[in-house]
Structures are given as C-alpha cells and as structure tokens.
Amino acid sequence: MNWQWFHRLGSPKWFYAKCTRWLPWLWLICVTLFGFGLYQGLLNSVADYQQGETVRIMYLHVPTAFASMMFYVTMAVAAAVGYIWRMKMAHMVAISVAPVGAAMTFLALATGSLWGQPTWGTWWVWDARLTSELILLFLYLGFIALHQSFEDREVGDRAAGVLAMVGVINVPIIHYSVYWWNSLHQGATVSKLDKPSLDPSMLSALMYMLLAVILFCSIIIIMRLRNEILSREQGKQWIKEVL
C-alpha cells in the first residue's frame, strides 16, 4: 500500500492546494445533505406522540451534541500528534477545530435548553448530560484561551497540546462522575444498532442531519485551516505563487 498521500497531509502547501480543489464539492454535498435532512426532519417525519412537534429540535440538538464530543477528541488527537511528532500541520488542525467544537457545544446547550422548556418545563436542569456538556464547553474555552495567551505561537501550540492531552483523559472521568452524581436525561436511543427505538423516518432525518452537521463543521474547519496556513506560512515562496 502506498502511504504517500498520507505523509503529504503534513505539508501545508499540499494541503492548501487540495483543500482549494475540494471545497466547492464539499459545499455541494453539505448543502444537499442539509436539504434532505431538513425536508425529512421538518416535513416528512412523524411528530412524537408525547412531545408533539417540539421533537423536531432533536434534528439539530443531537447532531451538534455529537459533533461537540467528536471534535474534542479530534482536537486532542491532533494536538497529541503535533506535540509528540512535532508536526506543525497537526497543531494547526487542533487550533482550527477548537472554536468550531466550542460553537457546537454552545449550540447543543442552546437547542437543548429550547427543547427543555416545553418538554421538561424548565430551561435548565442540573442533569448529568447537560452538566458534562457545560464542562466540555469550559474545557474548549480553556484550550482556546491558553493558546491565545502566548505571544509565541509555537509555544502556545505545545502548551495547548499538553492541556488537550490532560483534558481528553479527564473527559470520560468527568462524564461518568457527573453521570453518577445525577441523571434525568433520556438514555441514548440511537446507539442501539440492532433495533433503534426511534421511528425509521425520524432516524433517517437524524442521520442526514448528523452527516450534514459534521460535514459543515469540517468545511468550516478546513476554511479556518487555510487561513491558519496562510498566516503562519506568510512570506514563503509558494504562498506568493498561490495568491
């Protein structure tokens, strides 16, 4: 097997060129997925027998919550790769992912609170999942703030890398201790692969939206990454040729 494509990902120049070519296509797929997902979710799926139409917030809430956790791990893995093998691209990925992940965490909390008001009768409860999502937001903010506060970007990269690695070990511990502390959130319904307890029309809408949100986040991350590459590599010959 030829691994050259993989090693090339470490080169800012190559990555920049590839991204420029991919972006329009990614946008196209993303918009299509959003179209399918929103149509299926808002118009074509059944309303919940208890929650009625409010259940449709789920099609934004679940994907953003999923993305918020997925991107924390992505960020931590990228930061660890950057710290251990001193790859500058990996650090750039970690830095670009962090604000997007934080935004998704915030969206998950906001949509959750909008959903909670009509169904649980309150904007906020100190429930385990909500609390650990809130703590996840703090962890993201800590990462971003630590990176921002170093004047030297490379030192900031390494410091934030250490923090991300410590954080990712702690995330499951925090999650389970909070879970043990208190829970009233409904259990996971999608992870049961054999027979999901969701209606098929809801499930397909959810899957479309999940893919769409993750793809959307990836596009934003790639765009941030391009900016990051441009600002870090400024003055290099290839940049002058590209721009």
Partner: protein
Amino acid sequence: MFFKLLKRELLRHWRCRQDLINPLVFFLITVSLFPLAVTPEGQMLQLMGNGVIWVAAMLASLLSLDTMYRDDYHDGTLELLLLQSGSPYTVVFVKILSHWLTTGLPLVLVSPILSVMMQMNDEAIKAQMLTLLIGTPVLSLIGSVGMGLTVGLRQGGVLLSLLVLPLYIPILIFGASAVSAASMGLEYIGQLGLLGAFLMGSISLVPLASVAAIKVSIR
C-alpha cells in the same frame, strides 16, 4: 537528592510565611461568608456545609498554586533545578509534594473547626477530614499542570482557574457526596475508594504531564 530538594522547598515556604497563612485565611473567610449570605439557621448550614467547605478548600488550593513555581521561575532557579538535578520528574514531584504539605495539609487540619461552625455532626466531620486528606493531594497534582503551563504568562491567574477548575470537578463531586452521605449516617467507603483511585491515578500520571507542561514554559 529527593530529601535535599524537599528540605529546600519546605524551607522556602517557611521563610515566606505569608504564603502559608493566606490560603488558610481565605478558606476561613470564604466559608464564614456563606452563613451571612444564605442563612445562619442550623438545618440549612448542615445541608450545604459539606459543599461550601469543599468549594472553599478547592479555591484556596487553587489560589496558592502560584507559590509552587512562580518565584523559582522568575529568578531562574527552576531552570537550573531542572537542568542540574538530573531528573525533572523528581523536581516536579517534590514541588507538588511540598505544595500539598504547606497548603493542602493545613486545610485538612483546619477543616474540623469549620465543620463544627457549619453545625455538622461527628460522622460528617470525620468524613470531611478523610475526603480532604485524600482529595487535596489530587488538587495539588492537577493544579501543578495548569500552573506549569501558565507560569510564564503575565496574567496567568484567571486563565489558571479556567484550566484547572473543570478538571477538579470529579474530586468535588465525590468529596462532597461522601460527606453528605456520612451526615445522613450512610456508608461512604465507595466515594473514599474512588477518591483513592483518583489519587493513585494522578500520582502515577500527572507528574509526567506536569514535567511536559513546565518544559513548555521554560524551553
């Protein structure tokens, strides 16, 4: 080497006694603010005393993290110690240990007085001391990573709390719940066991992260 370093650290703390006393005074004042703010009624104090004492101890420990590295970092001692001692691990470990001996342990020793002031019963006071005894070393350990990362920064203080407090949450949860279980006469050995597990896990892993953190700051 270990004991020489430990002696030096303890002597350093002893010579600026202000740093030893400040966290304790902070601890006392913060806890005594709560009855003033909420209610001096015994029942209520008993209910929230465990949490209040735990949060105050956590903040006191957080505020005192500064003394761990900052002075040594600014006069260059830390750099020399890391270079010359041959083992950065030992240096960091001794610093964490001495931080606990000078701030964590006094907090544990003072806590019964505050527990009595918060109208807690005997069993709860015992649990409070035990959980603080097991929990405060973990606070020093985790805090050392945050302090290592922020020691070179000018406004590290606020940032430090943002980095470290979320990581303190599991300790707070199990510490406070052990005490409230004890105050209701329930078994709390499970929470103590989990705190012990956190302590063992962080003793074995955190100093390594702390060395990495301090190396980022020193270069």
